[in-house]
Amino acid sequence: MAEWSDVWLVVPVYNEAQVIRDVVRHARQTFPNIVCVDDGSRDGSAEQIRAGGAHLVRHPVNLGQGAALQTGIEYARAQPGAQYFVTFDADGQHQVDDVVRMLKRLKDEDLDIVVGTRFKAGADTSHIPWIKRLVLRTVVMLSPRTRRLGLSDAHNGLRAFTKKVADSLNIMLNGMGHASEFVELIDRHKWKVAEEPVEILYTEYSMAKGQSLINGVNIVFDSVVRSGAKR
Protein backbone atom coordinates (compact mmCIF):
# COMPACT_ATOMS: atom_id res chain seq x y z
CA MET A 1 0.00 0.00 0.00
CA ALA A 2 2.72 2.44 0.95
CA GLU A 3 4.45 1.71 -2.34
CA TRP A 4 2.23 4.19 -4.20
CA SER A 5 1.80 6.80 -1.47
CA ASP A 6 3.54 9.42 -3.61
CA VAL A 7 0.99 8.94 -6.39
CA TRP A 8 -2.24 10.92 -6.79
CA LEU A 9 -5.09 9.82 -9.00
CA VAL A 10 -7.08 12.75 -10.37
CA VAL A 11 -10.60 11.74 -11.39
CA PRO A 12 -12.97 14.26 -12.99
CA VAL A 13 -16.54 13.25 -12.18
CA TYR A 14 -19.73 14.47 -13.80
CA ASN A 15 -22.95 12.63 -13.02
CA GLU A 16 -21.34 9.23 -12.42
CA ALA A 17 -23.20 8.26 -9.23
CA GLN A 18 -23.91 4.78 -10.60
CA VAL A 19 -20.30 3.73 -10.91
CA ILE A 20 -17.95 6.16 -9.19
CA ARG A 21 -18.05 4.46 -5.81
CA ASP A 22 -16.89 1.13 -7.17
CA VAL A 23 -14.30 2.76 -9.38
CA VAL A 24 -12.83 4.62 -6.41
CA ARG A 25 -13.00 1.58 -4.13
CA HIS A 26 -11.28 -0.57 -6.68
CA ALA A 27 -8.55 1.96 -7.43
CA ARG A 28 -7.96 2.53 -3.72
CA GLN A 29 -6.93 -1.06 -3.26
CA THR A 30 -3.76 -0.02 -5.04
CA PHE A 31 -3.55 3.74 -4.76
CA PRO A 32 -4.20 5.36 -1.37
CA ASN A 33 -4.47 8.91 -2.72
CA ILE A 34 -7.39 9.72 -4.98
CA VAL A 35 -8.96 13.09 -5.54
CA CYS A 36 -12.32 13.22 -7.28
CA VAL A 37 -13.42 16.52 -8.72
CA ASP A 38 -17.19 16.60 -8.77
CA ASP A 39 -17.88 18.95 -11.66
CA GLY A 40 -21.27 20.20 -10.51
CA SER A 41 -23.03 16.82 -10.73
CA ARG A 42 -26.73 16.74 -9.96
CA ASP A 43 -27.05 13.03 -9.23
CA GLY A 44 -25.45 12.41 -5.87
CA SER A 45 -21.99 11.67 -7.22
CA ALA A 46 -20.52 13.54 -4.25
CA GLU A 47 -22.10 11.13 -1.78
CA GLN A 48 -20.75 8.16 -3.70
CA ILE A 49 -17.28 9.70 -3.78
CA ARG A 50 -17.35 10.17 0.01
CA ALA A 51 -18.52 6.60 0.42
CA GLY A 52 -15.72 5.40 -1.82
CA GLY A 53 -13.18 7.15 0.37
CA ALA A 54 -11.61 9.64 -2.01
CA HIS A 55 -10.74 13.25 -1.42
CA LEU A 56 -13.62 15.34 -2.70
CA VAL A 57 -13.36 18.71 -4.42
CA ARG A 58 -16.64 20.10 -5.68
CA HIS A 59 -17.21 22.65 -8.39
CA PRO A 60 -20.34 24.56 -7.39
CA VAL A 61 -21.26 24.73 -11.09
CA ASN A 62 -20.44 22.57 -14.09
CA LEU A 63 -17.37 23.78 -15.99
CA GLY A 64 -16.23 20.88 -18.15
CA GLN A 65 -13.69 18.09 -18.00
CA GLY A 66 -10.63 20.23 -18.73
CA ALA A 67 -11.43 22.57 -15.87
CA ALA A 68 -12.11 19.67 -13.53
CA LEU A 69 -8.74 18.09 -14.36
CA GLN A 70 -6.95 21.34 -13.69
CA THR A 71 -8.71 21.71 -10.34
CA GLY A 72 -7.81 18.16 -9.36
CA ILE A 73 -4.19 18.62 -10.34
CA GLU A 74 -3.92 21.89 -8.43
CA TYR A 75 -5.35 20.16 -5.38
CA ALA A 76 -3.10 17.13 -5.71
CA ARG A 77 0.14 18.98 -6.37
CA ALA A 78 -0.36 20.98 -3.17
CA GLN A 79 -0.44 17.78 -1.09
CA PRO A 80 2.73 16.97 0.81
CA GLY A 81 4.70 14.12 -0.71
CA ALA A 82 2.89 14.13 -4.05
CA GLN A 83 5.39 13.17 -6.76
CA TYR A 84 3.39 11.41 -9.47
CA PHE A 85 0.00 12.24 -10.93
CA VAL A 86 -2.43 10.19 -12.95
CA THR A 87 -5.51 11.38 -14.82
CA PHE A 88 -8.10 8.64 -14.60
CA ASP A 89 -11.65 8.40 -15.95
CA ALA A 90 -14.59 8.05 -13.61
CA ASP A 91 -16.63 5.69 -15.75
CA GLY A 92 -14.54 2.58 -15.18
CA GLN A 93 -12.92 2.55 -18.63
CA HIS A 94 -9.39 2.61 -17.29
CA GLN A 95 -7.49 -0.25 -15.70
CA VAL A 96 -5.47 0.01 -12.51
CA ASP A 97 -2.94 -2.46 -13.92
CA ASP A 98 -2.27 -0.12 -16.83
CA VAL A 99 -1.67 2.74 -14.40
CA VAL A 100 0.83 0.67 -12.43
CA ARG A 101 2.74 -0.14 -15.62
CA MET A 102 2.78 3.50 -16.67
CA LEU A 103 4.02 4.62 -13.26
CA LYS A 104 6.78 2.03 -13.26
CA ARG A 105 7.99 3.35 -16.58
CA LEU A 106 7.80 6.89 -15.26
CA LYS A 107 9.96 5.91 -12.29
CA ASP A 108 12.43 3.69 -14.11
CA GLU A 109 12.95 5.58 -17.33
CA ASP A 110 13.92 9.18 -17.88
CA LEU A 111 10.42 10.41 -18.72
CA ASP A 112 8.20 13.30 -17.75
CA ILE A 113 4.90 11.95 -18.95
CA VAL A 114 3.46 8.63 -20.09
CA VAL A 115 0.29 8.65 -22.17
CA GLY A 116 -1.97 5.68 -22.69
CA THR A 117 -2.66 4.52 -26.22
CA ARG A 118 -5.22 2.22 -27.80
CA PHE A 119 -3.36 2.11 -31.10
CA LYS A 120 0.16 0.89 -30.49
CA ALA A 121 1.44 -0.92 -33.55
CA GLY A 122 0.08 -4.43 -33.63
CA ALA A 123 -2.52 -3.81 -30.95
CA ASP A 124 -5.87 -5.45 -31.37
CA THR A 125 -8.36 -2.65 -31.85
CA SER A 126 -11.35 -4.67 -32.91
CA HIS A 127 -13.21 -4.04 -29.65
CA ILE A 128 -13.19 -0.29 -30.27
CA PRO A 129 -16.25 0.89 -32.19
CA TRP A 130 -15.13 1.44 -35.81
CA ILE A 131 -16.43 4.98 -36.07
CA LYS A 132 -14.47 5.94 -32.97
CA ARG A 133 -11.37 4.30 -34.40
CA LEU A 134 -11.78 6.17 -37.66
CA VAL A 135 -12.22 9.55 -36.00
CA LEU A 136 -9.35 9.10 -33.55
CA ARG A 137 -7.04 7.98 -36.34
CA THR A 138 -8.05 10.95 -38.46
CA VAL A 139 -7.38 13.36 -35.62
CA VAL A 140 -3.88 12.01 -35.21
CA MET A 141 -3.27 12.17 -38.96
CA LEU A 142 -4.39 15.77 -39.13
CA SER A 143 -2.22 16.90 -36.24
CA PRO A 144 1.42 17.27 -37.30
CA ARG A 145 2.39 17.94 -33.70
CA THR A 146 0.93 14.67 -32.48
CA ARG A 147 2.79 12.76 -35.17
CA ARG A 148 6.05 14.57 -34.52
CA LEU A 149 5.88 13.59 -30.86
CA GLY A 150 5.26 10.02 -31.96
CA LEU A 151 1.85 9.80 -30.31
CA SER A 152 -0.75 7.49 -31.78
CA ASP A 153 -3.71 8.26 -29.54
CA ALA A 154 -3.87 11.90 -28.48
CA HIS A 155 -7.33 11.62 -27.00
CA ASN A 156 -6.64 8.96 -24.44
CA GLY A 157 -7.69 10.18 -21.01
CA LEU A 158 -5.19 8.01 -19.16
CA ARG A 159 -1.94 9.84 -18.45
CA ALA A 160 0.74 9.63 -15.78
CA PHE A 161 3.19 12.44 -15.18
CA THR A 162 5.71 13.86 -12.74
CA LYS A 163 5.59 16.77 -10.34
CA LYS A 164 7.52 18.88 -12.83
CA VAL A 165 4.73 18.51 -15.37
CA ALA A 166 1.98 19.00 -12.80
CA ASP A 167 3.57 22.19 -11.53
CA SER A 168 3.63 23.87 -14.90
CA LEU A 169 0.31 22.50 -16.06
CA ASN A 170 -2.31 25.13 -16.73
CA ILE A 171 -5.21 23.83 -18.78
CA MET A 172 -7.08 26.73 -20.31
CA LEU A 173 -9.73 24.90 -22.30
CA ASN A 174 -12.51 24.07 -19.90
CA GLY A 175 -14.27 21.58 -22.12
CA MET A 176 -13.08 18.49 -23.95
CA GLY A 177 -10.43 20.35 -25.94
CA HIS A 178 -7.93 19.74 -23.18
CA ALA A 179 -6.61 16.54 -24.80
CA SER A 180 -5.17 18.50 -27.72
CA GLU A 181 -4.02 21.14 -25.29
CA PHE A 182 -2.08 18.49 -23.38
CA VAL A 183 -0.27 17.54 -26.59
CA GLU A 184 0.50 21.19 -27.27
CA LEU A 185 1.89 21.65 -23.76
CA ILE A 186 4.06 18.55 -24.07
CA ASP A 187 5.49 20.02 -27.24
CA ARG A 188 5.98 23.54 -25.91
CA HIS A 189 7.66 22.50 -22.66
CA LYS A 190 9.68 19.78 -24.39
CA TRP A 191 8.56 17.20 -21.87
CA LYS A 192 9.89 13.73 -22.50
CA VAL A 193 6.89 11.69 -23.48
CA ALA A 194 6.28 8.00 -24.09
CA GLU A 195 3.28 5.86 -24.88
CA GLU A 196 2.10 2.77 -23.12
CA PRO A 197 -0.52 0.45 -24.61
CA VAL A 198 -3.59 0.40 -22.40
CA GLU A 199 -6.90 -1.32 -22.52
CA ILE A 200 -10.06 0.73 -22.53
CA LEU A 201 -13.18 -1.11 -21.45
CA TYR A 202 -16.10 -0.10 -23.63
CA THR A 203 -18.95 -1.03 -21.34
CA GLU A 204 -22.51 -0.18 -22.21
CA TYR A 205 -22.42 2.42 -19.47
CA SER A 206 -19.32 4.19 -20.72
CA MET A 207 -20.53 4.10 -24.31
CA ALA A 208 -23.74 5.85 -23.35
CA LYS A 209 -21.81 8.44 -21.36
CA GLY A 210 -18.98 8.91 -23.82
CA GLN A 211 -18.15 11.73 -26.15
CA SER A 212 -20.46 12.32 -29.02
CA LEU A 213 -18.43 12.65 -32.16
CA ILE A 214 -20.14 15.85 -33.23
CA ASN A 215 -18.55 17.50 -30.20
CA GLY A 216 -15.30 17.15 -32.14
CA VAL A 217 -16.37 20.19 -34.14
CA ASN A 218 -16.41 22.25 -30.95
CA ILE A 219 -13.02 20.91 -29.95
CA VAL A 220 -11.43 21.81 -33.27
CA PHE A 221 -12.96 25.29 -33.25
CA ASP A 222 -11.81 26.03 -29.70
CA SER A 223 -8.31 24.79 -30.43
CA VAL A 224 -7.92 26.84 -33.61
CA VAL A 225 -9.19 30.10 -32.16
CA ARG A 226 -7.18 29.63 -29.03
CA SER A 227 -3.87 28.86 -30.69
CA GLY A 228 -4.38 31.94 -32.87
CA ALA A 229 -4.91 34.06 -29.80
CA LYS A 230 -1.79 32.79 -28.07
CA ARG A 231 0.71 33.59 -30.79
Binding site: M1, A2, S5, R28, P32, N33, V35, V37, R50, G53, A54, H55, L56, V57, R58, H59, P60, V61, L63, A67, Q70, T71, E74, Y75, A78, P80, G81, M172, N174, V225, R226, G228, A229, R231
Partner: protein, 120 residues
Protein backbone atom coordinates in the same frame (compact mmCIF):
# COMPACT_ATOMS: atom_id res chain seq x y z
CA UNK B 1 -15.11 44.60 -58.65
CA UNK B 2 -11.45 43.91 -58.35
CA UNK B 3 -10.50 46.83 -56.11
CA UNK B 4 -13.25 46.18 -53.58
CA UNK B 5 -12.30 42.54 -53.48
CA UNK B 6 -8.73 43.38 -52.59
CA UNK B 7 -9.81 46.00 -50.06
CA UNK B 8 -12.27 43.70 -48.32
CA UNK B 9 -10.01 40.67 -48.20
CA UNK B 10 -7.12 42.75 -46.92
CA UNK B 11 -9.38 44.35 -44.31
CA UNK B 12 -10.52 40.95 -43.09
CA UNK B 13 -7.02 39.50 -42.89
CA UNK B 14 -5.45 42.50 -41.21
CA UNK B 15 -8.26 42.90 -38.71
CA UNK B 16 -8.18 39.22 -37.87
CA UNK B 17 -4.43 39.22 -37.27
CA UNK B 18 -4.62 42.41 -35.25
CA UNK B 19 -7.48 41.05 -33.24
CA UNK B 20 -6.02 37.70 -32.36
CA UNK B 21 -2.66 39.14 -31.50
CA UNK B 22 -3.59 42.08 -29.40
CA UNK B 23 -6.85 40.98 -27.94
CA UNK B 24 -7.51 42.11 -24.39
CA UNK B 25 -5.24 45.15 -24.34
CA UNK B 26 -6.78 48.54 -23.66
CA UNK B 27 -5.29 49.94 -26.88
CA UNK B 28 -7.18 47.31 -28.87
CA UNK B 29 -10.37 48.07 -27.01
CA UNK B 30 -9.92 51.77 -27.83
CA UNK B 31 -9.26 51.17 -31.52
CA UNK B 32 -12.29 48.90 -31.72
CA UNK B 33 -14.40 51.74 -30.33
CA UNK B 34 -12.88 54.25 -32.76
CA UNK B 35 -13.43 51.88 -35.64
CA UNK B 36 -17.01 51.36 -34.63
CA UNK B 37 -17.63 55.13 -34.34
CA UNK B 38 -16.16 55.69 -37.82
CA UNK B 39 -18.40 52.98 -39.16
CA UNK B 40 -21.47 54.61 -37.60
CA UNK B 41 -20.49 58.00 -39.03
CA UNK B 42 -20.07 56.37 -42.40
CA UNK B 43 -23.55 54.89 -42.03
CA UNK B 44 -25.09 58.30 -41.24
CA UNK B 45 -23.28 59.91 -44.18
CA UNK B 46 -24.46 57.13 -46.44
CA UNK B 47 -28.05 57.85 -45.46
CA UNK B 48 -27.62 61.61 -45.90
CA UNK B 49 -25.68 61.55 -49.17
CA UNK B 50 -26.46 58.32 -51.01
CA UNK B 51 -25.07 59.70 -54.28
CA UNK B 52 -21.67 60.47 -52.75
CA UNK B 53 -21.49 56.95 -51.34
CA UNK B 54 -22.27 55.61 -54.80
CA UNK B 55 -19.42 57.70 -56.18
CA UNK B 56 -17.06 56.19 -53.61
CA UNK B 57 -18.47 52.76 -54.39
CA UNK B 58 -17.91 53.23 -58.11
CA UNK B 59 -14.39 54.38 -57.41
CA UNK B 60 -13.80 51.14 -55.49
CA UNK B 61 -15.43 49.11 -58.23
CA UNK B 62 -18.77 48.43 -56.55
CA UNK B 63 -22.00 49.19 -58.42
CA UNK B 64 -24.11 50.92 -55.80
CA UNK B 65 -23.53 52.70 -52.50
CA UNK B 66 -25.90 50.33 -50.71
CA UNK B 67 -23.78 47.40 -51.83
CA UNK B 68 -20.69 49.02 -50.41
CA UNK B 69 -22.56 49.54 -47.16
CA UNK B 70 -23.63 45.91 -47.16
CA UNK B 71 -20.07 44.67 -47.64
CA UNK B 72 -18.93 46.90 -44.82
CA UNK B 73 -21.71 45.50 -42.65
CA UNK B 74 -20.68 41.93 -43.29
CA UNK B 75 -17.10 42.61 -42.27
CA UNK B 76 -18.15 44.60 -39.21
CA UNK B 77 -20.56 41.90 -38.13
CA UNK B 78 -17.91 39.25 -38.46
CA UNK B 79 -15.59 41.13 -36.19
CA UNK B 80 -18.26 41.96 -33.67
CA UNK B 81 -18.92 38.22 -33.46
CA UNK B 82 -15.26 37.31 -32.95
CA UNK B 83 -14.92 40.05 -30.37
CA UNK B 84 -17.88 38.72 -28.43
CA UNK B 85 -16.59 35.16 -28.69
CA UNK B 86 -13.17 36.08 -27.34
CA UNK B 87 -14.71 38.16 -24.58
CA UNK B 88 -16.84 35.21 -23.53
CA UNK B 89 -13.87 32.85 -23.53
CA UNK B 90 -11.98 35.23 -21.31
CA UNK B 91 -14.86 35.50 -18.89
CA UNK B 92 -15.21 31.74 -18.86
CA UNK B 93 -11.59 31.41 -17.86
CA UNK B 94 -11.91 33.86 -14.99
CA UNK B 95 -15.08 32.17 -13.90
CA UNK B 96 -13.28 28.82 -13.92
CA UNK B 97 -10.54 30.24 -11.69
CA UNK B 98 -13.12 31.53 -9.26
CA UNK B 99 -14.95 28.20 -9.16
CA UNK B 100 -11.63 26.41 -8.70
CA UNK B 101 -10.64 28.58 -5.76
CA UNK B 102 -14.01 27.99 -4.08
CA UNK B 103 -13.83 24.26 -4.77
CA UNK B 104 -10.35 23.83 -3.32
CA UNK B 105 -11.23 25.89 -0.27
CA UNK B 106 -14.16 23.61 0.45
CA UNK B 107 -12.38 20.36 -0.27
CA UNK B 108 -13.15 17.36 1.91
CA UNK B 109 -10.67 14.80 3.18
CA UNK B 110 -11.89 11.23 3.22
CA UNK B 111 -13.37 10.07 6.50
CA UNK B 112 -11.25 7.64 8.48
CA UNK B 113 -12.39 4.14 7.69
CA UNK B 114 -11.95 0.65 9.02
CA UNK B 115 -9.32 -0.31 6.54
CA UNK B 116 -5.96 1.36 7.23
CA UNK B 117 -5.40 3.41 4.11
CA UNK B 118 -4.42 6.87 5.27
CA UNK B 119 -0.76 7.66 4.96
CA UNK B 120 -0.32 10.97 6.71
Amino acid sequence: MIIIQIVLILAVILLLLFFLRHHGKSKTAASVKIGFSLFMIFGVLAVLFPDEVTTVANWLGVGRGTDLLLYGMVVAFGFATINTYLRFKELELRYAKLVRAVAIQNSEQPQEQKEPVKVD
